[in-house]
């Protein structure tokens, strides 16, 4: 984040509305229609195998009651055993299909997510920050994946089982089956009561738990600061506060379950009792058999398990729904490319010109206002001013990353922001102070700028920025960098970024404090080398220190979003304005020294 941008409140990324969520879910299923149909079918079959045994038991009881021969008992027994064995296999296959479906869908979802992330307009990324995006891509996608793998198959099976058990009971005896259904009404009431409150309570529960975890990881990240500033007591307090909050949130969800679970438990006993009593009357009338009554009673008992499963997971389904809305919300931020008509190849000049340019972040005052600036090809311009003056924003406008609110920025005769990204970056590149080190090898990091460069090119670029540490790496260009590989410091990351610029070879480079982390000697040499390599190219150097200005061809002073002075160093001194005043306070330090230095 740049200084200027950081001061703006971050508008959040969009969250998909209900309709879009439904459409997105439907499209995920449609993309894998066969897999989905097979999964549901096999799950149905698995549920069927699970409900055959009470029916067979009922037949057995009737057979025993009527004094049937042992052979018929054996036939029924063998069938019972056979179905149980089939059940093992069916449940296994159903589960596997469910998991595989979940796994595939999750993979598609995260690939779609990364495609959308890569298609996000740069402004959106700048404005909403990377934290939320990363959280959506990791936490939310993982939660949905877990749901797809576990909750979705479990609830599917449970729902199918519930339906089949009820159907089976109705088939055995419609009246007894109906009795069972009446008994189940309690579950409906309790379930509704619970689900209406569960979402908010579980969201708070989840938030409190992440607060505990983040409290811990932050303490770990700041362990050194805890020691140096003796913040031990404060961390204990923070830990206890997080615990207290988590306890309160968990107690609340526990209270909800304390109502739900007993209601469900009692509601599953009621149908059994009802079937017993009504069944007794029917048996006396001779309209049904004892076997049928027993079978129905067993069915009613069997209902308890899938109903419990269903209620257990439905809450997770709800929270995944919220996650899914966040993941899908990214789609709303991906707008169609802004260019009305791509102007490929239309750029005939390297001259960049800003005319009366103003820019504001939505809902805020202008950070850049009324800027006029003409850049001659090959010119070196220093853009200086206090932090918060709008230098970086102007740099981004000149780089074509953002479109001005008012006025225009053109390259040759073409409006910069109309250019296709591919075209744009062959003209202008902006290198920021904080460059990203990509996971992967040195080569991976350099090829970002030029996918076709060969090793000789890479080595030449690295040599130009004096990244001689590359020679000491165990695997040369193939050395993996970063936390899991060879550790590099911030200045080495900056060298890689500069090497990237050399490889990309644009005609205009905007350096936004791009050498600030290098040690002074290396920075100076790197810049000189960069200047030599990019001879004839336009360079805009953004800095908040005056030293930069002195060395550039022209200096532009920026304050409160405006260019207040533009000219060469000497011209600006003669002008005796803001630059001259700043320079005075600086050059006072360069006063002729007197005493002899002492050797250490």
């Amino acid at each position: 984040m740049t200084v200027e941008l950081d001061d703006q409140p971050l508008p959040g990324l969009p969250v998909a509305d209900r309709r879009r969520v439904r459409r997105a879910a439907a499209s995920l299923i449609r993309d894998d229609r066969r897999g989905f149909v097979v999964m549901i079918t096999v799950n149905c079959l698995a549920a069927v195998t699970m409900i055959v045994s009470p029916w067979l038991l009922g037949r057995m009881i009737d057979a025993v009651g009527t004094g049937a021969p042992v052979s018929s008992i054996d036939r029924l027994g063998a069938a019972l055993l056979g179905f149980a064995l089939v059940q093992v296999v069916m449940v296994r296959v159903a589960n596997q299909l469910g998991s595989r479906f979940g796994e595939r869908t999750q993979a598609r979802m995260r690939e779609r997510f990364i495609d959308r992330v890569l298609a996000l307009p740069p402004t959106v990324v700048e404005r909403s920050g990377t934290g939320d995006l990363a959280a959506r891509g990791t936490n939310d996608v993982t939660l949905i994946g877990d749901t797809l793998r576990e909750a979705a198959p479990a609830t599917t099976i449970a729902a199918i089982q519930i339906v089949l058990i009820i159907v089976a009971a109705l088939l055995v005896d419609p009246l007894l089956g109906a009795c069972g259904l009446i008994g189940l009404a309690g579950i409906g009431v309790a379930g509704r009561w619970y689900l209406r409150r569960a979402r908010g309570a579980y969201l708070a529960h989840g938030a409190a738990n992440s607060a505990i975890a983040s409290q811990l990881t932050n303490s770990a990240a700041g362990a050194r600061t805890i020691e140096t500033l003796r913040l031990q007591r404060a961390r204990t307090t923070a830990c206890e506060e997080a615990i207290a909050q988590s306890r309160a949130a968990q107690t609340r969800t526990l209270r909800l379950r304390s109502v739900l679970y007993p209601s469900v438990d009692i509601s599953t006993v009621l149908p059994v009792v009802l079937v017993l009593l009504v069944g007794f009357a029917l048996v006396r009338q001779g309209t049904t058999t004892i076997g049928a009554v027993v079978a129905c009673m067993v069915y009613m008992q069997q209902l308890a398990q899938p109903v419990g499963t269903f209620l257990l997971w439905i809450e997770q389904l709800q929270s995944s729904n919220a996650s899914f809305a966040r993941v899908e919300g990214i789609a709303d931020a991906v707008t169609a490319p802004a260019a009305a008509e791509p102007r490929v190849g239309a750029v005939d000049s390297d001259r960049i010109e800003a005319r009366d340019v103003s820019y504001a972040y939505p809902g805020h005052d202008d950070v850049v206002s009324g800027v006029n600036l003409k850049l001659e090809p090959g010119e070196r311009l220093a853009l200086v001013g206090p932090s918060g003056a709008g230098k970086t924003t102007l740099g981004r406008l000149l780089a074509g990353t953002d479109r001005p609110r008012r006025g225009s920025i053109t390259i040759g005769d073409v409006v910069m922001a109309d250019l296709e990204p591919e075209e744009l970056r062959s003209h202008v590149l902006m290198v920021t102070q904080e460059s990203h080190l990509f996971l992967g090898t040195v080569r991976d990091n350099l090829l970002v700028g030029a996918e076709t460069a060969d090793d000789a090119d890479l080595r030449r670029a690295l040599a130009t920025v004096e990244a001689d540490w590359i020679d000491d790496l165990p695997d040369g260009l193939d050395t993996v960098l970063g936390a899991d590989g060879h550790r590099v410091d911030a200045s080495q990351v900056q060298q890689l970024a500069l090497a990237r610029v050399i490889l990309a070879d644009p005609h205009t480079v905007i350096l936004d404090e791009a050498t600030s982390l290098l040690d002074p000697g290396t920075a100076r040499r790197a810049e000189r080398a960069l200047g030599a390599v990019l001879a004839g190219r336009t360079i805009i150097a953004i800095a908040h220190r005056l030293q930069t200005a002195r060395a550039a061809g022209r200096v532009a002073i920026m304050q409160d979003g405006r260019l207040i002075e533009v000219g060469t160093h000497d011209e600006l001194l003669d002008l005796n304005g803001a630059y001259a005043a700043l320079w005075q306070s600086w050059s006072g330090i360069d006063a002729p020294p007197s005493p002899e230095p002492v050797d250490g």
Partner: protein, 584 residues
């Protein structure tokens, strides 16, 4: 409480011992959980008994009052079971919750104990795994204390009930159930292996996604998106395939967990039906046996699930125990020699740096890392030969050093809280002291820009402040602490020239008479220093005032003063000798 058991002192002799410690911390609750778990599971065996009576005594004989009696008894037992079930659930939830909190507390204690050594002992990723997953998995496994115990008890009770019907059936049931558990056992091992590698791939793909998100700015300006997209796709496909592998195993486990009890149930029912047709047992007893064995599904699957949870928790608990057992690298706080009574000279023999008491010293180095290393030795963030009033810092209690010497890191962590709390640090500083520090750090605008001034909430890592604001808040916090010796690393590197000049002057004035060391290459700060120590290759090469060193010319002048570099024409800009910024 058993001898030698201390709730504040976790048992780190192994993952099992650690989990036992978590149970012993809440022994009473664990016993209650076992009580509820056992009674609940045993009472699940009662409805089949009642149903059998209702069939034999009521349905078959056509006895209405018997049917009503048994039906009402069934209802009563149902209500009792519901009560036991929720009692069990509530107790177990509390046990898991307290175990989670307990582990959190001891992990925080260990974080505090390791302090600056933490980074050198464990990676950030490892701790994130502990914080996010391991603590939860370990506490979830404590479920075995309630339902686990209950499962064993109910198994035995059901054995007796079945023996009452038929000894033959009882033998079959009592031998069959353990056989089931043993059958499922080996699968768990395979499950663990598959899950572990799945989790590794999962965290790798998360890392890659974060990598792309954070590098978006670079990808946007340089291109290279296709390359990253295809790399991500490869990883994603690999994770999916790994997921298939895991599913192949887990699906067997759930299949067997549901199916094996059913197979067993079928076998026993068959046997019982034959006994019933021979007249050895009644129809009601046949139904009862079916009910008993069907009910055994609950304890058996609870045991299988418990075994699964336990084996996963072993992995997690091992990681937790590993972290808790890590020892600080420094011979921490064992010294007993008191520090100097008054301000005294700090000396770092390795670099030749001598810090005179009560003065403002600046360290300049052509490589920033070397001055930081000096600060770490002088601030005893590492063990070294550094001395304070000729006493080795390692001989002085660490506690005392922390109280008197403050290292203000360049990237010192800013914890969440109100700005006031952030600035107070561990002091009870009042608003006046805080405002003074804010003034010295020229951070008035930070307070003004926030909606509620000092009462505004600062996010974790002060993400809601800009880089320059963060740096000034860090400096102000160090000044509020008002240490006898302040060792500050690059305290003004992200500030613009104007602000930096102001901070330099005010800092010097506010620290007058007390020892202050700053690392910097800014002439604005160097000009304020009483003594400038110039380090070359980590060793003091020159010392004196800034003016004196400048006058002597040479490397120092070249390093800090760039105003008159002659190569303006060739260089793009002589950008930034002093442009040292921080990532914001």
């Amino acid at each position: 409480m058993a001898r030698g058991f201390d709730p504040a002192e976790p048992d780190l002799r192994g993952p099992v011992r650690y989990m036992l410690w978590l149970v012993r911390c809440q022994r009473r609750r664990a016993l209650l959980g076992a009580f509820y778990g056992s009674f609940w599971m045993v009472s699940l065996a009662v409805p089949p008994l009642l149903i059998a009576r209702a069939i034999d005594g009521g349905l078959e004989k056509g006895d209405a009052s018997a049917v009503w009696t048994w039906a009402l008894a069934l209802l009563a037992v149902g209500v009792l079971n519901a009560w036991l079930a929720i009692g069990r659930h509530r107790t177990m939830t509390r046990i898991r919750m307290e175990a989670l909190f307990g582990t959190n507390r001891v992990v925080i204690e260990q974080v505090k104990r390791l302090g600056a050594d933490l980074d050198r002992r464990v990676s950030a990723g490892e701790l994130a795994t502990i914080g996010v997953a391991d603590i939860v998995i370990t506490s979830a496994a404590l479920t075995v204390t309630g339902p686990g115990v209950g499962a064993v008890v109910s198994y035995i009770v059901v054995g007796f009930l079945v023996a009452d019907v038929s000894v033959l059936l009882a033998v079959v049931v009592l031998l069959g159930v353990p056989a089931l558990a043993i059958l499922v056992g080996p699968l768990l091992g395979r499950l663990l292996g598959a899950q572990d590698s799945y989790r590794d791939d999962q965290s790798r793909i998360s890392a890659q996604l974060i990598d792309v998100v954070e590098g978006l700015r670079v990808l946007n300006s340089f291109g290279g998106k296709r390359r990253h997209a295809s790399r991500f796709r490869d990883q994603s496909a690999r994770l999916r395939d790994r997921g298939y592998e895991v599913a192949a195993v887990t699906s067997w486990i759930s299949g067997l967990a549901v199916g094996l009890p059913a197979v067993f149930l079928a076998g026993v029912t068959w046997l019982a039906a034959r006994l019933a047709s021979e007249g050895t047992i009644t129809t009601g007893e046949l139904v009862a046996v079916y009910g008993y064995v069907a009910m055994l599904v609950i304890p058996v699957s609870s045991l299988i699930e418990g075994a699964d949870q336990l084996s996963r928790a072993m992995v997690s608990a091992r990681r937790i125990v590993g972290f808790l057992g890590a020892e600080p690298m420094r011979a921490s706080g064992r010294g007993a020699v008191p520090g100097p009574a008054h301000q005294a000279e700090l000396v770092d023999p390795a670099s030749g740096v001598r810090v005179e008491p009560g003065r403002f010293t600046a360290l300049v180095s052509s490589r920033p890392g070397t001055s930081v290393a000096v600060i770490e030795r002088l601030g005893r963030l590492v063990d070294s030969d550094a001395t304070w009033a000729a006493t080795r810092l390692t001989s002085i209690p660490l506690e005392e050093i922390r109280e008197r010497i403050l290292v203000a890191d360049h990237e010192a962590h800013l914890f969440a809280g109100t700005l006031r709390r952030v600035l107070q640090g561990n002091t009870d500083a009042d608003d006046r002291a805080i405002e003074d520090a804010i003034h010295v750090a020229a951070a008035e605008d930070v307070v003004q820009a926030l909606p509620h001034g000092l009462d505004s909430i600062i996010d974790e890592r002060a993400r809601n402040l800009s880089g320059g604001q963060r740096q000034r808040v860090r400096l102000a916090r160090a000044l509020v602490a008002d240490p006898e010796v302040l060792l500050a690393v690059e305290p003004t590197s992200s500030l613009d020239a104007f602000t930096e000049a102001i901070v330099g002057e005010r800092l010097r004035a506010s620290r007058a008479g007390r020892t202050t060391v700053v690392t910097t290459t800014s002439t604005l700060i160097l000009a304020q220093a009483d003594v400038v120590l110039f380090l070359v290759d980590g060793v003091v090469a020159a010392a004196g005032t800034h003016e004196a060193l400048l006058a002597a010319g040479g490397e120092y002048r070249r390093l800090v003063s760039r105003g008159d570099e002659p190569d303006l024409a060739t260089g793009p800009s002589a950008v930034a000798v002093l442009d040292r910024g921080v990532p914001t």
